[in-house]
Symmetry: C2
Subunit: 331 residues, 2 copies
DNA sequence: CGCGCTACTGTGCACGTTCACAGAAGTACG
DNA sequence: CGTACTTCTGTGAACGTGCACAGTAGCGCG
């Protein structure tokens, strides 16, 4: 029980391979009669084009690789990436492009991925990384059209990207805290080799100027545990702080734990601002006032960039999208 | 600057295509001298096998489709599935099989997916669904070797699966609540057309027998909001309940909100047991006593089933893995 | 009527690989 | 020495497409 080929369809429709091929590829110059006959033949035979054969001659694969260059762990739980995956699959499917997932955690993985892309097994690359100056970026960008969701630090002009305006978001939150009358505002940042780590601190400093002293800044690594630790650090260094802007909701959840253990009431004694508006923001006590990123728009913009590159655009402009303050009870 | 082909490698090594091909495919019968020459030629030329050409003749694609048959939303945030995706990519990569992601949310998507698999574009299918008796299951299973992580209700003997022992987990939690002296134990279930919904209730009933009356049971849909709602329902129907077993951590977080609003202290007035040991379990107040599923083992077992099927095994046995009670503060 | 143009159709070739087969060279054994 | 067997090698054919090209039919127009 063999799979029907384009020959079978052609025979059933009483035309030649060429005509069927033309119809399949949307060429003009197919007569209405032929068109109808072929379409019937296709449904009758249950024909599905053989992508391997097509790839062989067109030198394109009809697939895009999503490369996850991360320490694996948190990556998938991050709603940012889940949204990206979902949107990518959907948008690419519309164009009949399939998304293949690749991990590039360790050295061996990275080699495999580069070989895969160099070997022409993907028409494009959707890079997901937070590594500053990820060398993978250069290798992949050299081998195929690549884009990224979120800037790749140090490779901003090598890999087009779409991102949220982290700096704006940080300003929005900091301004809000200031407007509520808080005087000694601390911050827990993300890792300083990630865009979110850097730019959210920049926004914070934009508003507070020299009032954003070193003493009021602690660093975390996006994990809840690091939020707990950083908060403890801050309380020790600056016991009289009355607000803290935490660069992610998950770390903010950690900070809340520490504050509670220290007997500080939130928001009465210390106001807490988060970032991301992720699912934990509503399950903490009190629910977090936070900054929402337009995740879906970011993902869509990223895919737009990718499609543009697949269509031959050389250097599409990066896209930066505005964030939004979400007021709940923690500040 | 063309990509090197097997011809180029053969020429560079001074042998024929056939010999190179044999080496690539691990055939015996390649002399040590030829082997060395070819290996050098491969690294020299940077040769990467063309999968399309290979597929064309072998009738296999070297890829597996992960089909997500869900209302999109929560799917990706569920750590269960993130673990599965991660493990799947890694394990399949070891075998040089790539994972392509497909969404099958609406009718059109489902058609596309079925055509894709019928068309022979994937060697196997990793189905992810909670739809009871998902018709997609039959169509896909008929077109390619398919497995599932978690049982597909009504298709247990069509699609091999690996799953956590939900019923056991529910028993563990219920027994724990009983052992702590709770007398009026309620339950918030998941949707009753999902394995988790059904089996966690079964385990609950296993322990409580006729004490698990209708009045003590409310149904949710896995969302936090539904947990709030169900808890309110229970409090109204049975104000004197002293414990509640919630079939997921996220719903449990919702239940906590309702209990707090009603002025019930947790765990003093009402003990709360969750299920999943997901990330929210540690960010609620108090942290949730819950049931941990062996997510990584489940994912690995699922991939084992898939690989077995790809290797020709007809009907591998389903795998059911034990759960574990994690005691925190909510019960 | 002849010419050019448009709309459409069929055919041969190439894409890069695997596989079956034929055959060569070496070795063991009666 | 002849035969059988093992180990290794090269070659032609096939896989199912898209594309360039050649070719046909119809039509308008001078």
């Amino acid at each position: 029980m063999k799979r029907p080929t384009i020959h079978d369809v052609a025979a059933a429709a009483g035309v030649s391979r060429g005509t069927v091929s033309r119809l399949l590829n949307g060429d003009r110059y197919v007569s209405p009669a032929a068109r109808a006959a072929i379409e019937r033949a296709i449904t009758e035979t249950g024909y599905v084009v053989n992508r391997a054969a097509r790839s062989l001659v067109t030198q394109r694969t009809g697939s895009v690789a999503m490369v996850l260059s991360e320490p694996d762990q948190m990556l998938f739980e991050d709603p940012n990436y889940s949204t990206l995956i979902r949107v990518a699959i959907r948008r690419l499917a519309e164009r009949d492009i399939s998304l293949v997932m690749m991990l590039a955690g360790n050295e061996g993985d990275r080699d495999r991925v580069v070989r895969y892309v160099r070997g022409g097994h993907a028409d494009g690359v959707l890079l997901v990384t937070t590594h500053a100056g990820d060398p993978l970026a250069d290798a992949l960008a050299a081998a195929a059209p690549a884009v990224s969701c979120g800037a790749v630090i140090g490779r901003e002009n090598v890999i087009p990207y779409a991102a949220a305006d982290d700096r704006l978001g940080a300003r929005q939150m900091t301004e809000y805290l200031v407007s509520r009358g808080h005087k000694r505002i601390a911050m827990i940042t993300g890792p300083m080799d990630t865009p979110g780590g850097i730019q959210r601190l920049e926004g914070f400093a934009d508003v507070l100027g020299r009032k954003a002293s070193k003493k009021l800044i602690a660093h975390g690594d996006w994990t809840q545990a690091s939020g707990e630790r950083a908060m403890a650090e801050l309380l020790e260094r600056t016991p009289d702080l009355d607000a803290v802007f935490v660069a992610s909701d998950l770390m903010a959840a950690g900070a809340l734990t520490t504050l509670r253990a220290a007997g500080r009431r939130v928001p009465d004694d210390v106001a807490v601002g988060g970032f991301d508006d992720s699912s934990v923001a509503t399950s903490t006590l009190p629910p977090l006032t936070t900054i929402r990123q337009p995740l879906a728009e970011m993902a869509n913009a990223t895919i737009n960039l990718l499609l543009a590159r697949l269509d031959g655009a050389e250097k599409p402009q990066p896209v930066v999208l505005p964030t939004e303050l979400v007021i709940r009870e923690s500040a």
